[in-house]
Amino acid sequence: MTAMPIPPPPRFRPLRLLNYLVLLLVLGLIISSLAATAPPLDKVWRGVMRLFSPSGLFTQMFPPDFSRIVPISWKLLETLQMAVAGCFLGLILAVPFAILATDRLSPHPVVRLGARAIIALFRTVPDLVWAIIFIIIVGLGPAAGVLAIMVDKIGFAGRFFAEAMEESDPGPQDAMRAIGASKLGMIVSAVFPACLPSFTATSLFALEKSVRGSAALGLVGAGGIGVELKVAFDLFNYDEALAIILMMLALVIAVEQGSGWIRRKLI
């Protein structure tokens, strides 16, 4: 006698009333958000057509004007320097914040909570807002941009460094503790080497993010290429603005390619 084949299970699990309610709530949120904020399609279409009209923005942008390539290049270099300096300072300062925010390494739960709160605050406030705050503190110019990038990077790298240390193998740390190593000795000798690949990847992503961010910081007066871009738009020199945008794009792509290469080599 052959055994009866077992029937396959139903394709979908039956939904409970609560599941239906949650689904309806999510759908309602999406539809109401689209209705309240999404632009009407005909308006978008008319706007796009205007960009390409004889007096439109895109028409005036072409061909890009590279006649001021030398001063723009210097500003681009300043942008890169702001990004590197801000990122470097931010990454260095992110390390102690990350240590204090890590369960196993923090000296006290209250300190851990405090460090996590500061990291979250630094990450949540946009870098443009930090730039405005630092312009008030140190005045217009690249110094405000460097400080804004630094604070933003403490928030970004602090979180990822802490996660990497949290996930590292506790075995070598226990062994160092058992040897009688100091906490600092244990962290530098056992935690950092284990987290090196993760730290490197985070640092390179932070650099890419800094370069992209530093270009925009000039729009609020925090130095770099953004200042040139704002002036070009203000003076309706759209062809020069396109040249600046293309040079920024080249810089960002170069940094991304470079950091990608370093990541592949190191990790």
Partner: protein
């Protein structure tokens, strides 16, 4: 010969050496679950003692309690002339420096050289950046680390990354790191567990050599009957957190010992 604490006290008048380790009424519970129940025993110097018992009998917990990597719930531990439970944080660090631990998983720091890992052992008596990596270490420390590696037969692999060494070689590096501590007492948690029989035997012979030639004291968890018989002077058997066997290895009955290896306990 090692003796239980009661006998050691009784024979104090005729025994010249005080016990190097004496444990009295040691207990440990986790969340109301009893792991160790009122353990009392004492070990003399320059002896190799095997600690045997089924999985979950409390062997590893006992070892961790001895150096307070796990805090005991009750009882007294006197080791190397110190009341271990009364030590403050700094005294505990100095005490741990005298106790070398060989772990079941070697617990080496990955991504760095064997020599750097061995140099870490010096953190038992030295702190600061010069004890963090071999490249920063003073010449005397590097020379001592090399001689420790030579002792375990790995001087020629000093600059090899530990994670590219075989399991047996990694365990030898861990022993070299432990030697760098200049310990007076060795705790070993199944040092041969992850090794093939031949390599496991070599590692056990190396540890016994430290007892015989260097006069160190060894308390090791053993999970192989043949190693227990060959590499120990005395056997302590744990059953459900209690010492149910305590005798010189020479007098051990193999049939009696088998029950400690063959009958896993349910917690």
């Amino acid at each position: 010969m090692n003796t239980p604490l009661a006998h050691a006290v009784e024979e104090a008048g005729v025994t010249a050496l005080a016990p190097v380790l004496s444990v009295s009424g040691l207990a440990k519970s986790y969340d109301g679950r009893v792991i160790l129940q009122s353990l009392t025993f004492a070990l003399s110097e320059r002896q190799s003692t095997a600690l045997i018992g089924a999985n979950g009998s409390g062997k590893s917990t006992l070892l961790k309690c001895l150096v307070r990597l796990t805090e005991p719930t009750a009882g007294r531990i006197d080791m190397l002339g110190q009341d271990v439970r009364a030590l403050g944080p700094n005294e505990l660090r100095r005490f741990r420096a005298q106790v070398g631990i060989v772990w079941q998983r070697h617990n080496l720091v990955p991504r760095i050289s064997a020599l750097s890992n061995v140099v870490h052992g010096v953190q038992a008596r030295m702190s600061g950046p010069r004890s963090w990596f071999q490249a920063l270490a003073p010449a005397t420390v590097r020379a001592e680390a090399m001689s420790c590696l030579e002792r375990v037969g790995l001087a020629d692999r000093a600059m090899t990354r530990v994670d590219s060494l075989s399991g047996g070689q990694q365990q030898r590096v861990a022993i070299a790191r432990m030697l760098m501590q200049r310990p007076a007492f060795i705790l070993a948690d199944e040092p041969d567990a992850s090794l093939d029989p031949q390599t496991g035997e070599e590692v056990m012979a190396l540890l016994l050599g430290l007892v015989r030639q260097d006069g160190l004291s060894l308390l090791m968890i053993s999970h192989r009957l043949e190693h227990t018989l060959r590499f120990s002077d005395r056997i302590l058997g744990l059953t459900q957190g209690r010492i149910t066997l305590d005798q010189p290895t020479a007098l051990a009955n193999v049939t009696d010992l088998r029950r400690f290896f063959e009958h896993p306990e349910t917690p």
